[in-house]
Amino acid sequence: MSIIQKLKNTIRSRSIHVCYVNVGSCNGCDIEILACLSPRYDIEQYGIYVHNNPREADVLLITGAFSPQWEDKLKPLWEKIPHPKVAVAIGNCPISGCVFNRPETLVDPPVSKHIPIAAEIPGCPPRPTEIISTILSLAPLIFKDYEEKKQ
């Protein structure tokens, strides 16, 4: 392993920038992501910073059951995120549509039809601790030795 790769691994393990995007959720999952910021859970002690800016993000958290307005917006947003990147689906909605996936509905789940999803956290909504532990267990799998794996 080259020195530069070691350096990148060290830095990336303590610096995860998160962006969240709501593609048609009821706000329940969004406020649980916000609750992660509170000093009780203290997401920043793990080096995770909720930036909410796609151009600086490493992890994209997706909530909601994919409403038609996002049809042409989510993929460009995903492409704006620099490599290495990973998308996590929060809650039942991006996985299956939850209660909204019924006849007459406007939503079009799952989100994995549109962008690659690396991890899914079921729950309506999942607890803040589950969100934090998922990001923490997923990040080393994706970001460690990223350049060497690509070769």
Partner: protein, 361 residues
Amino acid sequence: MKKTVDISLPVGPVHPLFKEPCRIKCETRGEYVLSAEVELGYVKKGIERIMRGRPWQEVMFLAERVCGICSVIHNYTFIEAVEKISGIIPPERAAYLRVIVNELDRMQSHLLANYSYCYTIEHETLAMYVLNLRETVMDQLELITGARVTCAYIIPGGVRWDLPDDRAESLKSALDHIDSELTRFVRIFETGPFIALRSKGIGILTKEAAEAAYAVGPTARASGISVDCRSDHPTYQALGFSPVVRHEGDNYARIMARFDEVFQSVNLIRSALLKMQPGPVRGGGVIQAGSIQYRMEAPRGELLYDLVTDEYGRILEIAIQTPSIMNIQVCAHEMLTDAESAADITSIFISSDPCIACTER
């Protein structure tokens, strides 16, 4: 008069300060905002279309998922509406327990709104204090109902579980903690000179404009309109409820109105705990055919459910009117117009506490 527009400034839909996607399109001259328009439609799910023709047992959970922040009030309003149709009267203890859970939900919603505002004006310390205090409220909500956000605690004819004495004691000590901590935070907010610079006299909504645009909730009450649907509710009347009204009509008044309502909710829960007598919490009943318009006070203002049921308990027609749509309109057309700085656009918008998920459903 000819208007000179420098640039059209779009804010959103994915913005660092917005919890939900929406787009504000502003026409600016320099930093001065000439006019603004809010573009919605990013989270439309068609909940009312899904609800039609389904039994109330399903619609009850769908109603709760109209909005995740104020889920209890949607549950409460829907259940009371079908109870009114069927002539079901809940036991007295259940009526007080409903008020306790509803007020806890209102507290967490208001604290979240004030957290967002403090974060928007870059007072991150106070924002984190308020967000941490919200976790205390969420703990109590979880202890009583069993879930943090979508708890489905209120059912026709009563509530799901009783409140045991040890949990009532823990609720009382949590209320004391919230009371003492929030007094400290409100003093920080009142006396902070930089908070005053970003809040006082910014985003003014006059009483006339609020009346003309049918503003509701804390946004209207901060402009001197005494409107609160809780005044008409029998359980709240028994607890001696009277609305909080402020007269300044600026960002500062809206945030302070919400802080005052949190204190008011603490007192309402305390008096409900005192008045509550031991007894049954589930009365039972059968949902019958009928139609009703029923309104209650959500954390953001008046919430209206207009529904028709049939004799099998199915929902034939339903229309929901949520409070945020009026507040978003009045925010775009009255408060944002003539804002002195582009930095105030987000803080004015957040101070009216918009809930996009409610609005679009």
